[in-house]
Amino acid sequence: MAIIEAADLRKVFRRIVRRPGIGGAVRALFSREYEDKIAVDGVNFTLAEGELVGYLGPNGAGKSTTIKILTGILVPTSGSVRVAGIVPYQRRQENAENIGVVFGQRSQLYWDLPLRESFELLRAIYDVPRNRYLENLAHFSAILDLERFLDTPVRQLSLGERMRGDFAAAMLHDPKIVYLDEPTIGLDVVAKEAIREFITRVNRERGTTVILTTHDLADVERLTPRVILIDEGRVIFDGALQRLRTEYGTHRTLVVTFAEAPTNIDVPGTEIESREGLVVRLRFDRRKLSAEAIIRRVMERYPISDVSIIEPDIDTIVRRIYVEGYQHGAVGAPS
């Protein structure tokens, strides 16, 4: 069953054109020019209940705007949106009962007070029955190891601890859907792992639908089987992470360590990516040539001491898509 449906979602902002410097700012006092900025340009997707989806895109691609429409903060310019059967901007408060939101860069905890006090306030805001609240608190404390710092003022917590507190805070009222906006930003490896574990368990054990925006693609690899890629306000890919890999990860890199410095390197079917001393990285299209054929060509021409092959990681693939756009024929339409 679809829990989130977005169809032809568009959001256009009217922005003041800013000119640089103090002179520009003074001029803007007297005459202002406006421009339309299309933040979201016809976004379509549906999410089934209990899905865990990565919503990716470069800065300014329209990720946050989409999330703000789904959470009811913004009204779309056109298009339709339904979240758990509700149009969020029409029944914002009702929608708010169903959702939890974590903004990675912004905490909802009270800085000066023990973590527990923030939880108590949220319990009151969402009117969580006392028993359920205590159950959830015990459960999250166990997964996130909150017990140690539940009575410590938030200002004294490390970023990782605070973030764990924020996650528990967003989940105390058993939301059907959680929006996680860059939840692992700035965290160390251990804290990231704890957060990822928490997301996985909440999704699996409680059937919570999760939308995750992130720049850390390790989050995606670890967590979300499905990714939606957005650029310039449009969905440019929607499908399994694996498909993204096979369709876009067409190039591999052969790392060759030469036995002696070659004068000029020319291997048909490859291009040189980088060269550092005796180590040269050659890029090739795996659809056109097999690794075996390339290695043979290299060995025919030069004495070498070592070779290895690098598979493109998800970071590289996504970076390529951002840079090259989606003119690539292989881009999949939402299935």
Binding site: I99, D112, L113, E117, I125, P153
Partner: protein, 269 residues
């Protein structure tokens, strides 16, 4: 159901307020002392100015002490209960305001119930001042007085809330509204110190019907001090209308707030 929930949130809000204030004990002590110095010195300054005039448009110095104390309590009540509404523009600017929109309660209620560092020290001082001024001015304290005075304080606080809300709502368009707020704070302080009859007709009209500061203290004081008709032709009993004026003014400000909020949700900021 909803009201019960709001009461629960409000209780928790005050708990956080007080805990936060007490968390920083030294700051609290300094602040508490400052309240008395600050308000004490403004009362003293007023005293010096007013004691030079035997009377102003038929108002004696004692009358004016009562006038000032009336405003002081209403204003302190506002500062204690509603001052966080004034932080909305900051929250719009730094993005925190979005948090209120993803919670299942009315945004204005949340803006009021956002824990700030508020402590009822100013209110306590204002009430002490008011009791002293009432005795000093020789106001006849009867059942009528005891019934209406608390309502007049609440009405006055609501008038202040209305102004605060209108200014904060302007931030949905202009984001930063410090200048506007400063102007209103200054005007309110000036125009509530003296009987409005000393001002021109235009100013009196604005203070009565547009931004009804005159209902915070002038009209109620006139009623309780038996001052007779005012220049605007309102009967003395208008002084008892303050609670109603407060409710209507806040209701109008709330309509404006909803309008601004819709705009915010439409265009962002």
């Amino acid at each position: 159901m909803r009201w019960r929930r709001m009461a629960g949130v409000y209780r928790q809000y005050w708990r956080i307020n007080i805990l936060t204030t007490l968390e920083y004990r030294e700051n609290f002590v300094v602040w508490f002392a400052f309240t008395f110095v600050y308000h004490g010195s403004s009362i003293a300054a007023l005293w010096i100015v007013l004691s030079r005039f035997p009377s102003m448009n038929g108002w004696s110095f004692r009358d004016m002490a009562f006038l000032y104390a009336l405003w002081m309590v209403a204003h302190a009540l506002h500062n204690t209960l509603f001052s966080t509404v004034g932080e909305v523009p900051d929250h719009i600017r730094n993005g925190e305001f979005d948090r209120l929109l993803v919670r299942p309660l009315d945004t204005l209620f949340q803006a009021i119930a956002t824990p700030g560092q508020v402590f009822p020290d100013e209110l306590v001082l204002a009430i002490v001042t008011f009791v002293a001024a009432t005795i000093y001015a020789g106001v006849h304290v009867d059942a009528m007085f005891l019934t209406f005075i608390p309502l007049i304080f609440i009405g006055g606080a609501l008038i202040d809330l209305g102004i605060n809300l209108i200014i904060s709502t302007a931030a949905f368009w202009f984001v930063k509204v410090d200048a506007l707020r400063w102007i209103f704070v200054q005007l309110e302080q000036e125009f509530t110190r003296y009987p409005v009859t000393i001002y021109t007709r235009g100013v009196r009209f604005v203070l009565t019907f547009v931004f009804p500061f005159a209902f915070m203290n002038y009209f109620p004081a006139r009623y309780f001090l038996h001052k007779g008709m005012s220049g605007l032709g309102l009967p003395p009993v208008a002084g008892l209308l303050t609670p109603a004026i407060g409710i209507v003014f806040v209701a109008l400000a709330y309509v404006f707030w909803r309008f601004g909020l819709n705009r915010y949700q439409g265009v962002g900021h």
